[in-house]
């Protein structure tokens, strides 16, 4: 009976393996860098993690709904270009707000394009979003042909602040988790999981499957725009290559967090843990003084190991059962 309860907990809370991995990553990291858990180090780490954390919220929603968004990074680049062009150190707070709203609008618009193609024109999500990513990067290049930018100091200091003793960025993470938990407990959340889980059955239950799929890309576009905001504020500059690596990292983080790529299962909390794990792996490699030529290789090997982890657990259990 306890075995059954345990199995149920594991299958409902798909991020348990990610949690285990996180503990290991923290312990290893702590040996190499003993001030890891001090507030200013946490603060610095999360300033770097936050853009990807915001991005994976949207990516998780798309993947749970049975799709994938390979244009997420390109939408970040687009948002980064808009923000870096519109916000300067002379901008008033009204202008800054307008720039942020414009960026969000652009993100949502990009999501609408993806959503229309995938949900209503029934195009393959992988190919479609890969193709649209070039459109979004192209527009970004049009807006900001070469790197540059002059971020307003007030915004940067807000991003670096520690209200209530905890870093601002950590508060943002908690806000994202809270939003997810609310969404998860609405009818929309049920529809999302049903659509990704088995869309024919969802359709026969009367769920507007196409609309749900469409909406996931809309969320992904919006969160990509917000990720662009975090990225731009953190780096203080704009670059037409800023989002390049983010797309694949967001997919890897979602999978590390225990969400199944075929949809209908998983959650945002796991994906956020996935981002933190990826960040810590990068930390460990830079502190372990791995030769620079081997860094990419080692980090890729660690990630592959982390990805096959849950499968290994299952294999071990089968072997024991036999």
């Amino acid at each position: 009976m306890t075995g059954l309860v345990l199995r149920r907990i594991i299958s409902r809370h798909s991020y348990l393996f990610a949690l285990l991995l996180l503990v290991v990553a923290v312990l290893v990291n702590l040996r190499l860098q003993d001030n890891l858990l001090e507030v200013n180090v946490i603060s610095r780490n999360f300033r770097n993690f936050l853009p990807l954390i915001v991005l994976v919220v949207g990516q998780s929603v798309v993947i749970i709904g049975g799709g994938i968004d390979l244009s997420a990074g390109a939408i970040v680049t687009l948002g980064n270009a808009i923000l870096a062009t519109l916000i300067t150190s002379e901008s008033s707070s009204g202008q800054i707000l307008l720039a942020i709203l414009l960026t969000c609008g652009a993100g949502v618009l990009a999501g609408v394009v993806n959503g229309l193609c995938v949900a209503y024109l029934r195009l393959q999500p992988i190919v479609t979003t890969y193709a649209t990513s070039f459109i979004f990067t192209g527009v970004a290049l049009l807006i900001l042909p070469r790197p540059g930018g002059d971020m307003a100091a007030a915004v940067r200091s807000l991003y670096r602040s520690t209200p209530g003793g905890a870093p601002f960025t950590l508060w943002m993470v908690f806000t994202l988790i809270a939003i997810w938990l609310v969404v998860r407990s609405t009818r929309y959340g049920q529809f999302l999981f049903a659509t990704g889980g088995k869309s024919e059955s969802a359709y026969f239950t009367g769920i507007p499957v196409n609309f749900v799929k469409f909406s996931t890309y809309l969320w992904s576009g919006l969160f990509a725009a917000l990720a662009a905001l975090a990225l731009t504020v953190n780096t203080g500059t704009g670059s037409p290559r800023s989002g390049d690596l983010l797309t694949l990292n967001s997919v890897v983080a979602v999978v590390l967090g225990g969400t199944r790529l075929s949809g209908g299962q998983g959650g945002v909390i796991g994906s956020i843990l996935g981002v933190v794990i990826l960040g810590l792996i990068a930390n460990i490699i830079s502190f372990a003084s791995v030769d620079s030529w081997a860094q990419t290789l080692v980090s890729a090997l660690i990630i592959i190991f982390a990805l096959i982890g849950p499968g290994l657990v299952r294999l071990a259990r089968k072997a024991v059962a036999r």
């Binding site: 059954l4 407990s185 009818r187 049920q190 999981f193 059955s201 209908g264 299962q265």
Partner: protein, 500 residues
């Protein structure tokens, strides 16, 4: 709660096929009506029209005396009409409670889900089946971990959670065990007392006799009989389902010679797999053994088990040697071929050329590097043999008509010269002309000594082609019919699980 439904002279055409030519059904509060009929008589079509899944071409649907037209299942549900289908509408990764309340979840203030109420109301629903389900069936259990019977129960409760006035149980008992069926029937009696109207579509005669008040019989898309069960009996019902159809003899086309002196190709002892619960049979070279019965009684699983695509228990022998195929490629090495029923998903690579499809199982024959010219010649020969109507061998398979595509599915296996051919409802959706050619092909293969195991959902086909028909019911052998006993009446009776 009170409801009366009256479907009158309903017609439904799918393309050129008339599925229903004069369907009628009357049902009112406090009544249990059994909708009966053989394979393809239009039962499912009629029940789908009543629940708004399918729109009729002609005819009247009166609900509470008012004429109604449903354009969407939601409209029927709004009037309190719902159905429990066998094709499950459940999401495997979601819990029992989430599935039951999907789309009408109890909520706080119309916004956030109310998990407590959802749980409590699910528990109340599950209590209806208390004693007949395992302790693991709880509101929080994921549907994918349930047994087929328990899933069916969740499906029933999902329909019940919408507080219907009329419920259609379409083969809802097929995956339930005796105890669960007993519970369901207790419930049906309670619903009846509460004034609900119930329509049962079932292939189990004993169940119909046990629970229904009235039976309505469809034959070839027409309602031919409607009578209180008190005034009729099993034999009358079966003869109404069968009708007076005279089976035409096609068997003369093939060798009607008794093949008993031929070698035994396939022998199975007590083989069980998934829905199959223990089948023994013997098949000789040159014999055409039919598998009959209603759909989903284990026929497909039987074929898959032989082909190594489904793990099984029991003994399978080929040419007297016990075999245990773990993969279709093992079976192929023993000259076994399998022609799947669903061309689009299992039998063909739709976007590839006819040539590629023909050669897929046979490339090994043409060496390394591949002798393309030889392969093309052989494929061309096979296509000609089967008289496939096509533009050229390099055209995509998707450009072929249904009958011609089916020829490619069979042809690709014939190129391997199989000794044992497994056919899984191969003529479904194939036009009459192509069927005739296909039958002639089967007879040629038999004459050449190929042993054929042939599942068909078309009773006429079994009666006209086979020497012997094994009727499956609930994964077991209900009857073995041959010679004099191979008649439509016996076939239908055995399909229904009676001795009729």
């Amino acid at each position: 709660m009170a409801i009366s439904l009256s479907a009158r002279h309903i017609t439904k055409r799918y393309g050129g096929v008339l599925a229903l030519s004069d369907g009628n059904l009357e049902v009112r509060s406090g009544e249990v009506v059994a909708l009966m009929g053989a394979n393809g008589s239009g039962k499912s079509t009629l029940s789908k029209i009543i629940t708004g899944v399918v729109a009729p071409n002609q005819g009247q649907l009166l609900i509470d005396g008012d004429e109604t037209r449903f354009t969407h299942p939601r409209m029927a549900r709004a009037l309190g009409i719902t159905a429990v289908y066998q094709e499950l509408s459940l999401i495997p990764d979601m819990t029992v409670a989430e599935n039951i309340w999907l789309r009408h979840e109890p909520r706080f203030l119309g916004f956030s889900l109310n998990p407590f109420e959802m749980r409590a109301r699910t528990s109340a629903l599950l209590a209806l089946f208390k004693g007949a389900v395992s302790a693991a069936l709880e509101p929080g259990t994921q549907v994918k971990s349930l047994s087929p019977g328990e899933r069916q129960i969740v499906e029933i409760l999902k329909a019940l959670s919408t507080n219907p006035r009329l419920i259609i149980l379409d083969e809802a008992t097929a995956s339930l065990d005796n105890q669960q069926v007993g519970k369901l029937f207790e419930l049906v009696k309670a619903w009846k007392a509460d004034g609900m109207a119930v329509v049962i579509v079932s292939h189990r005669m004993d169940e119909i006799l046990r629970i229904a008040d009235r039976a309505s019989v469809l034959r070839n898309g027409k309602t031919v009989y409607d009578e209180q069960l008190a005034n009729t009996d099993e034999h009358t019902l079966i003869s109404q389902m069968v009708g007076e159809t005279v089976v035409q003899e096609l068997k003369t086309l093939g060798s009607s010679k008794e093949p008993t002196e031929r070698a035994i190709r396939l022998e199975m002892q007590d083989v069980a797999a998934r829905t199959l619960r223990g089948i023994s049979l013997t098949l000789r070279d040159g014999e055409l053994l039919g598998l009959g019965g209603l759909q989903g009684q284990g026929q497909t699983d039987l074929l898959l088990a032989i082909f190594g695509a489904l793990p099984h228990t029991g003994v399978i022998q080929i040419e007297g040697q016990p075999v245990n195929f773990r993969h279709p490629s093992d079976a192929m090495q023993h000259a076994v071929a399998f022609v799947p029923g669903d061309r689009g998903t299992e039998g063909l690579l739709l976007s590839r050329s006819i040539l590629d499809n023909f050669l897929l199982p046979s490339w090994r024959r043409f060496g390394f590097p591949l002798r393309m010219d030889e392969a093309r010649t052989v494929a061309k020969h096979t296509a000609k043999d089967l008289s496939v109507v096509m533009a050229e061998l390099d055209a995509p398979v998707s450009s072929l008509s249904g009958g011609n595509a089916q020829k490619v599915v069979i042809g690709k296996w014939l190129m391997r010269e199989p000794k044992l051919l497994l056919l899984n409802d191969p003529t479904k959706g194939v036009d009459v002309g192509a069927k005739g050619e296909f039958y002639a092909l089967l007879n040629r293969l038999r004459a050449a000594g190929t042993a054929i195991l042939f599942y068909s959902s078309d009773d006429e086909e079994l009666l006209s082609l086979c020497d012997r028909v094994l009727v499956l019911h609930d994964g077991r052998q209900a009857a073995e019919l041959h010679g004099e006993a191979l008649t439509r009446a016996h076939l239908v009776a055995a399909s229904m699980g009676t001795e009729g």
